[in-house]
Amino acid sequence: MTLEHLPALQVMVPLAAAPLIVLLRHAGFAWALAVAASLFAFGASLALALEVSRAGAISYAMGNWPPPWGIEYRVDALSAFVLVLVSAVGALVAPYARRSVAAELPREQHYLYYAVHCLCLAGLLGMTITGDAFNLFVFMEIASLSMYVLIALGRDRRALLASYQYLILGTIGATFYVIGVGLLYLATGTLNIADLAARLPEAQATRAVLAALAFITVGVSLKLALFPLHLWLPNAYAYAPSAATAFLAATATKVSVYVLLRFYFTVFGAPLVVDALPVPQILTGLSIIAIVSASLVAVWQADLKRLLAYSSVAQIGYITLGIGMATRDGLTAAVVHLFNHGITKGALFLLVGGIALRAGSVDFGRLRGLARTMPLTCLGVTLAGLSLIGVPGTAGFISKWYLVLGAIEAGQAWLAALVVLTSLIAVAYVWRFVEAAYLSEPGSGTAVAGEAPLAMLAVSWVMVAACVWFGFDTSFTVQGARRAAELMLGAAP
């Protein structure tokens, strides 16, 4: 019974955990429940991914109303892949959060944090799994609203402003999205994504469809922080509680990328988006600006969290660059990087959370000589940083490989050159940390308390190990991404 209902349980278990946590109101129970729900979601996503790779796409009719009338949950190669990423990060952040949240939040807010964590997880999973365009909007808002709360829980008063700005921009983004969906509904009379895809060719070039494409592109781009719509991101990441930052950075923008992919390649289809309209050119141009400018800005940040936030903007640029290529290798690169960057940034922000706990802040002045008191943490940051650069033997390398391969096979050697040259800027900002931690003498503000608590460190290192593991064994990431890319380009059976 359970197996066939996994698509529903995948979302509903974390969603139901949230009100239960509020009912229980006890920090310890809340944490345990959040961990249990996150772990369940992770297990479910793995089972779903396995099932999809074995037997093809799964469709689940909510309330037994068959699609396209009812809401359909649909797991295919692409969404299964993203589900695994989101739920894996959720399952790692939940156990990590205990010590981090205990240190950063007042006690009466603890249960609230875990409830919102579950809600956010459910929202992101729901966005990924649903096969209904309007249902996607609802989950998008569930996820977004919980993110605003998570960010506003940050200790610094600037967290409030960051949350407010994100709320304004995020709501505009979601509303743009829902306008686009509305136009599509007017043009086709359906909201089911698969049904939309089937009916759109009849309405192909009408102005309503093109307007819908434009609205959805802008709306989702706001959510995924595509340059120049990324302005909310650095403050939001910098001032949110550490555990929340790690969770958001690893998942939120990635799920939005998934939505973009879903609409471009499933709903509108490559012939319209790629061949008839200059979408790839625009995406490529914006991605290049994002990569170069955000990487350069990252180099000059005085705060490690902000540095990593700007690096995220740049790394999202790599993902959209892959989408802009719109070839099999390009899309593979985009999907692989979506995963690899998710775990890399997750690992980095988890470790940085440990530093923030011990050092009080992650200002570069406080990081001087840190390797002496927190050797394992610093080694972890360095390894994950290498993955950010794309050094072979780390997950980031696999992404770079496919990006460059995609560019070369598309005959765009200059893009390949751009990808490798901008990796060098990543070397510059990663090495700012390495030099500060390893080569500088400890300053007056350096932490002396030693390593982060074992639970936090262990979870962070699981993530770091994943960064290295997926640099060697790519059978899950590359093959999963390749199947997803083939699905998007319509080559799969």
């Binding site: 033997g393 460059v404 060098l424 060697f472 059978s475």
Partner: protein
């Protein structure tokens, strides 16, 4: 043990050694014991592989598939065998030397030093035995990263600056040129396996191949082809054992090893000989040889002079490989071994002088040969070998290169070889002259030899330099096997 197990052991012994060193960090004697044991065990493993390779066998080990169609795999062919032999053999000597040097100079962070050293050797073995370009690239980058803490060992501003140059040049060239070259090769040939005769034949036009060759040659920054040589002098801020084993043997030889490997097994000698797009390479290598020699001549700092000498000697290998005749390729391979034993001796001597007398400049060395006869004697042997005085090994490799150049009918190469031999003599012999025949300066504090492990090590390498021509059957056989 089967050959495959031996390959795995050669990779794992230094890696587990590094872990052991880290664990034994609190007890210096135990720690150094672990280092020596790992070095000896590694050399034994490599040596045990030798009979199979000499008999024409090709031991293989495939670990897993990293990317669809590209494995993380290892295959021992003659060139890698020679490189592994040289690096692992000299690690033993260098470990002995390091003990004397690091303790004699009271260096900080000694555990980190030995750990990184062992990891560097593991990476070197990975490079030597790699079966394809991806595996090679993986260990190539790993070698850069694990040697960075060694370069910046002192942690002061000089070290930071040197470290930045080191990392900037090596990572920069490898990421911007080498990685795209590898990916382009994959896109063109559909394979990255090292194959005798090359994998690129007939896959692209001559100009594309030529462009690819340029990407490879400048992308392999460790080969220090001008203008990407600046990292090597910058790396001299490291403690001398690092300069000796890594920046005279393991790292730089990894560079020229990769060059030879790419020329022979990726492009294929015949493919390159068939197109004119590769003609620029001997010219660039020749320019590097002469220009670096001139810079060496003008450098007063001893380690800097040796570093530029290394830059110049590395380009011998590139030049010889680029001549594309069997004899010159064999010469290139043999020169990897010949230069290794010679140059490590010179660096050992420089380190011993620093330890005993705290002198770093050539102009301070007047009369030092009387106080440190063993050290300067060994230095003389190394210098004579690198100049190419018969019957020392440097002569043998140069002789093969001369013959190869003559076969290829490349007058420019002949001229460069002759000119650079004179320049070699010009920058080495004055040191020897000053050390033995000039009177010591006034006011120098009296001193004797460096600590005994250092002296023992440099005497051993000098003896190896002298012995190499008499025991040259093995290296020559391996070299000829590569040259075909």
């Amino acid at each position: 043990m089967t050959p495959a197990q031996l390959i795995a052991a050669a990779l794992l012994v230094p890696a587990t050694g590094a872990a052991g060193i880290a664990l034994a960090g609190r007890w210096p004697n135990l720690r150094e014991g672990v280092t020596l044991a790992a070095a000896a065990a590694l050399f034994a493993c490599v040596l045990a592989l030798l009979p199979t390779v000499l008999a024409g066998g090709v031991p293989q080990l495939f670990v897993l598939e990293m990317l669809p169609g590209i494995a993380l795999g290892f295959r021992v062919e003659p060139l890698g065998m020679l490189f592994a032999l040289v690096a692992s053999g000299l690690w033993i000597v260098n470990s002995v030397y390091s003990i004397g040097y690091m303790r004699g100079n009271d260096e900080p962070h000694q555990t980190r030093f030995y750990v990184c050293f062992a990891l560097a050797l593991a990476a070197t073995m990975g490079i030597a035995f790699s079966a394809n370009l991806l595996t090679l690239f993986l260990f190539y980058e790993m070698l850069t990263l694990v040697t960075w803490p060694l370069v910046t060992h002192h942690g002061d501003d000089d070290a930071k600056q040197g470290g930045r140059l080191y990392l900037g040049f090596l990572l920069g060239t490898s990421i911007t040129f080498l990685l795209p070259a590898i990916i382009a090769t994959w896109a063109l040939a559909g394979t990255l396996e090292f194959t005798p005769g090359g994998i690129l034949r007939g896959t692209a036009s001559g100009s594309v191949i030529g462009g690819l060759l340029a990407l490879y040659m400048f992308g392999i920054g460790k080969a220090a082809l001008m203008p990407f040589h600046r990292w090597l002098p910058a790396a001299m801020v490291a403690p001398t054992p690092v300069s000796a084993l890594l920046h005279a043997v393991a790292v730089v030889k990894a560079g020229v090893f990769t060059v030879v490997k790419v020329v022979v097994y990726v492009f294929g000698v015949e493919t390159l000989a068939g197109i004119r797009a590769a003609d620029w390479l001997p010219a660039v290598a020749g320019f590097t040889i002469v220009a670096a020699s001139i810079v060496a001549l003008r450098s007063d700092n001893l380690k800097r002079r040796l570093a530029y000498s290394t830059v110049s000697q590395l380009s011998y290998v590139v030049l010889a490989a680029a001549l594309l005749t069997p004899l010159s390729v064999a010469g290139a391979v043999f020169h990897i071994a010949a230069h290794a034993v010679g140059k490590i001796t010179l660096f050992f001597a420089a380190g011993a002088i620093y330890t005993a007398a705290h002198k770093t400049e050539v102009s301070q060395l007047d009369g030092i040969g009387r106080r440190m006869p063993w050290t300067m004697g060994a230095f003389t042997v190394g210098a004579l070998s690198l100049i190419g005085i018969p019957p020392l090994p440097g002569f043998l490799s140069k002789w093969m290169m001369f013959q190869g150049a003559a076969q290829a009918g490349n007058g420019m190469a002949l001229a460069v070889l002759a000119l650079s031999t004179l320049l070699n003599a010009a920058y080495f012999l004055p040191i020897v002259h000053a050390a033995f025949w000039r009177a010591p300066r006034e006011g120098d504090a009296p001193h004797g030899e460096a600590p005994w492990p250092s002296v023992a090590a440099l005497v051993v390498t000098a003896a190896a330099t002298i012995a190499l021509p008499f025991a040259s059957a093995v290296p020559l056989a391996l070299a000829r096997a590569v040259g075909g």
